[in-house]
């Protein structure tokens, strides 16, 4: 699914050039659940943004499902992203002015799907995430756990090949956090590839593989033997 080779990303401010990622090589297979860990500022989020095609690398190659992504224009990246990728953020990033239903419906609108089809898909995913009874509520009327369930619903409603999760439990208490991690595991077991950035050792145990980043480089990779140990 993902093949990254010699990837570099640097940020230039007025005087200093900061190397955020330095010669990163990473391969993620279809159906794999990968966790990326590391201290603050090690380049985790930068890597996730590049994998999510929200940002372009400075150097190196990134192939997504066989397509070279590095160097694509924003418009082309947008097209590739649509329907293939789902995002889950630490701060949920729901649109405050839209209801639960409308937030989840949004990626389907950008895919220009018919209304009746949209309704069916959204309701199905909401029911699965046990949040259908809140479809008419606005984000600020929900608890943090509920908001993240909506965000996950939105990420999976297009049946993406890959879900990118950036600290998905960072803003949640442990009960809600566990619930979210279980949901991600369930999706993974159904075949969705997941790449998750996390600080939490606890959460990293849900992944098949943990990649440790330090100062922009992958320093260790370890495989969890007991998949789904925490379920």
């Amino acid at each position: 699914m993902i093949q990254i080779q010699n990837l570099k990303k640097s940020f230039r401010t007025e005087e200093v050039e900061t190397l955020a990622l330095n010669n990163v090589n990473l391969k993620v297979e279809d159906g794999e659940f990968t966790a990326i860990m590391g201290p603050s500022g090690c380049g985790k989020s930068t890597l996730l943004n590049i994998i999510g095609m929200l940002d372009n690398p400075t150097e190196g190659s990134y192939q997504f499902a066989g397509h070279e992504v590095a160097g694509l224009k924003e418009r082309q990246r947008t097209e590739l992203r649509k329907g293939n990728l789902g995002f889950v953020f630490q701060s949920f990033n729901l649109i405050d002015e839209l209801t639960v239903f409308e937030n989840v419906e949004l990626p389907l609108i950008y895919l220009k799907m018919k209304k009746s089809e949209r309704r069916e898909k959204v309701m199905k995913v909401l029911e699965r995430m046990k949040i259908a009874h809140r479809e008419k509520h606005f984000p600020h009327q929900l608890s943090g756990g509920q908001q993240q369930r909506v965000a996950i619903s939105r990420a999976v409603v297009t049946n993406p090949k890959l879900i990118l999760a950036d600290e998905p439990t960072g803003n949640l208490d442990s009960k809600n956090g566990t619930e979210v991690m279980n949901l991600l595991t369930e999706l993974n077991q159904e075949g969705t590839t997941i790449v998750m950035v996390t600080h939490s050792d606890h959460d990293s145990h849900y992944a098949h593989r943990v990649v440790n980043l330090f100062d922009g480089q992958i320093v260790t990779e370890s495989h969890n033997r007991k998949i789904g140990a925490m379920i």
Partner: protein
């Protein structure tokens, strides 16, 4: 997709009622102002377009310089109309007006006169020229015979109390009887004939048949054949000088040639102007009705554009400031697959929604304000509800405004980079602040410019109103129609003078405020036929009390005196006249001049006095040469009153009038009012400037208020930290306000030279004008600073007094 755009737009507007209000209200004020001004300009541009074949109708003008000063006349000689019709195959039709001003009318068999203010003789081709139809009467014969007239519908109803006026007889000025042969509809307000109510047959007017190329009294209109080009007759029209005028002048200046006439610095140029241009482009001697100045249309157009641009800028500023709150949404949408085009469309729909709301509010505002605006602009404009073009243009401009003002925020917002905005760290560094600052500078520069303009216009008006005019206009009452008293006029004057509150009184047709004007060319006794010595002067007939009643200052010689029998052939001239003569006031005394150039036995007038120059034309014009002579023919009585209760004085004078002239209307005005009327267009401009300056400042303040609110909100955390570290409320308020004041300071620096330049240009139109003082700029800058401090400080202080614990918690 669009439904989703609309939905989110509506919810986002609803969620921020304060910003939505500022945005909608600011834009609505701009649109309402622009709408009112557009209606005014549309009305001004529509003058005289209602006549059939209006585009083929032109008026012939004469620019004449002979004997001192050059003047532009709207009138030409009596034979002009017939001559152009005969000489030019391009001319389909020609007709003349010979305006008569006010006339007293009464039905035969009655005593009471009713006054009609605007009357004129017209050729019988009047109907054909303007495509007029008669409401009653026979168009083939109406105005053909002498002593016939036609009335407008309202005049007919006034005099005959019925629609059946045809065949009735009217006595004009207690003298001639005329038969009514037709009734026409009243002329619309945007027609040059709007105030004319009585049209008499030219065939009964003796002077119109005399072939005299030396006197200009007739407004001559021509209609071209459809295929003709007006330019083709301009050159031959200039040739009329040699072909017709010079041969005519040779009668009293034998041997004069066109070359000699021109060599002496004189000229006579005939030209034409399209009828539909006259209202805005003609300012000539003897216009049929008061015209406006195209400059005021330009100024108003600028103001309208300023207002709309200001309002749009406001919209852009508030939207981009506010958009930082929408950054997250943009990031999410982009992450979920929205491209930039879709986001631009979304935000444009949102601004379209606001501009549509503003448009509705603006229409309501304009409907409410229209009566006030009509008062302000001296108009009778109504909303053209039934006109589909009006709605089309309105909706079209609403969409354009929405696109224009929404475009920058849309492009600005759609550029947000999701990686940055979703982190929530980039909010303060999203950029656009340079553009916003530029827009605030632009808004305030316009406001300061308008403040300077308003101050200068008012200062010039004040200068006009308080300048030493060289005569006393205060407490002078003019009683019209004294001529109708016949030989009783003098005893009426003497009776009035006996009243205790009357200082003095004088009979004349000529006053320094708008009244009759008459000029003649005078030649000195020595060098009678030498045109270089000729002096063209106003020639006013007055009585013995004129100079003292008007309070003129004699600078040489004396005023008219009943004890000098010879004064019937004396004249008093003004300073300008003696300077044209090239002599000093003292040298002028005793010199003899005659207006009868070319006569075998010219009548000479001896100069017995020189008066200090006084203003009898608007300040736009230089003071012309002028002479006063004694006459017993007078149109009006001017009464100088003592200060006090004018109503008593009025009652006393009216009592005497009713005794000597029973049945005649008592018609009067105060000289000061008439003087002020002369500056109506300046006063109107002053008022309009004032109102629209206030509006533009209001819009700019709304924008600044919104930006200050936004800025305070954005800096909540900074304010909290500063307070924790010990900053006082005043230090924080200062910190928050000073950035905006810097922008206002730059705006002031930009607008001062522009204001100075533009207002000097405007003042150039006045021969007598103020110098723009430094205080104008100081005051304008001071006002802008004070207004912006008040606007910004509310938000700054509000933010500064918040408990820092609360400020820091919001992070």
């Amino acid at each position: 997709m669009y439904k989703n755009y609309l939905k989110i737009a509506w919810r986002s507007l609803k969620k921020q009622p304060f910003f939505t209000f500022l945005n909608t209200f600011g834009l609505a004020i701009g649109i309402a102002g622009g709408l009112l001004i557009s209606l005014y300009i549309h009305d001004e541009l529509s003058y005289d377009t209602m006549f059939a074949d209006a585009e083929r109708i032109h008026r012939i003008h004469a620019d004449i310089k002979f004997g001192g000063d050059g003047r532009k006349f709207a009138v030409t000689p009596a034979p002009m109309a017939e001559t152009v019709q005969n000489d030019f195959s391009e001319v389909e039709l020609a007709m003349r007006f010979r305006t008569q001003g006010s006339i007293l009318l009464r039905k035969t068999g009655t005593e009471a006169n009713i006054k009609e203010l605007q009357t004129t003789f017209v050729d019988s081709t009047f109907f054909k020229m303007f495509g007029l139809a008669l409401l009653s009467g026979d168009i083939k014969t109406a105005l053909k015979s002498p002593n016939t007239l036609i009335l407008t519908k309202s005049a007919a109803e006034k005099h005959f109390n019925s629609n059946d006026a045809i065949g009735q007889t009217l006595i004009l000025d207690n003298d001639d009887s005329y038969t009514v042969t037709g009734v026409i509809a009243d002329f619309p307000q945007n027609s040059f004939l709007r105030d004319h109510t009585v049209f008499m047959a030219m065939s009964g007017y003796e002077d119109s048949r005399i072939v005299n190329w030396g006197s200009n009294n007739y407004q001559t209109y021509i209609k071209l054949i459809p295929s003709a080009n007006i330019e083709d007759i301009q050159q031959p029209l200039r040739g009329f000088l040699g072909k017709y005028v010079v041969p005519g002048v040779q009668q009293f200046m034998p041997g004069i040639t066109e070359e000699q006439f021109k060599a002496a610095g004189n000229y006579l140029i005939y030209s034409t102007m399209p009828m539909t241009d006259i209202h805005l482009k003609s300012d000539r001697v003897a216009e049929i009705s008061g015209n406006n100045d195209i400059q005021s249309i330009y100024i108003l157009s600028f103001i309208a554009i300023f207002l709309l641009v200001l309002a749009c800028v406001n919209f852009m500023n508030l939207s981009t400031a506010h958009s930082l709150k929408r950054a997250k949404e943009v990031g999410i949408r982009k992450t979920l697959g929205s491209n930039r085009g879709e986001l631009i469309r979304q935000f444009l729909i949102e601004s379209g929604l606001v501009s549509f709301g503003s448009l509705l509010l603006a229409i309501i505002l304009a409907i409410i304000l229209l009566p006030l605006f009509n008062d302000l602009a001296d108009k009778d404009i109504s909303m053209p509800y039934a006109n589909p073009f009006f709605w089309l243009i309105l909706v079209g401009s609403g969409i354009l405004l929405g696109l224009f003002s929404g475009s920058y925020p849309a492009f600005f917002m759609s550029k947000f980079i999701p990686v940055k905005v979703l982190k929530g760290t980039g909010n303060n560094s999203l950029g656009g602040s340079k553009v916003r600052n530029g827009l605030v500078i632009f808004q305030f520069a316009i406001s300061v410019f308008l403040i300077i303009s308003t101050l200068v216009v008012y200062q010039q008006l004040d200068y006009i109103q308080n300048k030493d005019l060289g005569f006393s206009k205060d407490q002078v009452l003019i009683v019209n129609d004294a001529f109708s008293l016949g030989n009783q006029a003098e005893s009426f004057k003497e009776e009035v003078k006996k009243l205790s509150y009357v200082e003095n009184a004088t009979l004349s047709s000529y006053f320094p405020t708008p009244s009759s004007r008459s000029d003649s060319t005078f030649a000195p006794e020595e060098g009678l036929t030498d045109q270089e010595n000729a002096v063209s002067m106003q020639r006013w007939g007055v009585d013995f009390d004129y100079v003292s009643t008007m309070d003129f200052e004699i600078i040489a010689g004396r005023e008219f005196d009943r004890n000098f029998k010879s004064d019937s052939t004396s004249i008093i001239v003004n300073e300008s006249a003696v300077s044209v003569m090239g002599i000093s006031p003292q040298e002028a005394i005793g010199k003899r001049y005659t207006p009868d150039m070319g006569d075998e036995n010219p009548e000479y007038y001896t100069i017995i006095g020189v008066v200090k120059d006084f203003h009898f034309s608007p300040f736009r014009a230089e003071i012309e040469s002028l002479s006063l002579h004694l006459t017993d023919r007078a149109y009006a009585l001017a009464v100088k009153l003592e200060s006090g209760d004018f109503s008593k004085a009025l009652a006393g004078i009216e009592g005497i009038w009713n005794k000597v002239a029973p049945g005649q209307p008592f018609d009067y005005y105060f000289m000061e009012d008439s003087f002020n009327d002369t500056y109506q267009s300046e006063q109107r401009l002053g008022r309009i400037f004032f109102i629209f300056t206030a509006l533009s400042i209001l819009i700019a303040c709304l924008g600044l208020f919104g930006l200050a609110a936004f800025n305070a909100e954005k800096r909540t955390k900074e304010i909290g930290i500063r307070k924790v570290l010990g900053a006082s409320v005043s230090q924080i308020s200062y910190k928050l306000s000073i950035d905006f004041l810097k922008l206002v300071g730059i705006a002031i620096l930009v607008s001062l030279p522009l204001g100075w330049f533009a207002m000097n240009k405007w003042l150039e139109d006045f021969s007598y004008r103020i110098e723009i003082g430094v205080w104008v700029f100081v005051l304008a800058s001071f006002l802008a600073v004070v207004i912006s401090i008040i606007t910004v400080s509310y938000q700054s202080i509000k933010a500064a007094i918040v408990n820092p614990v609360k400020s820091l918690r919001t992070e």
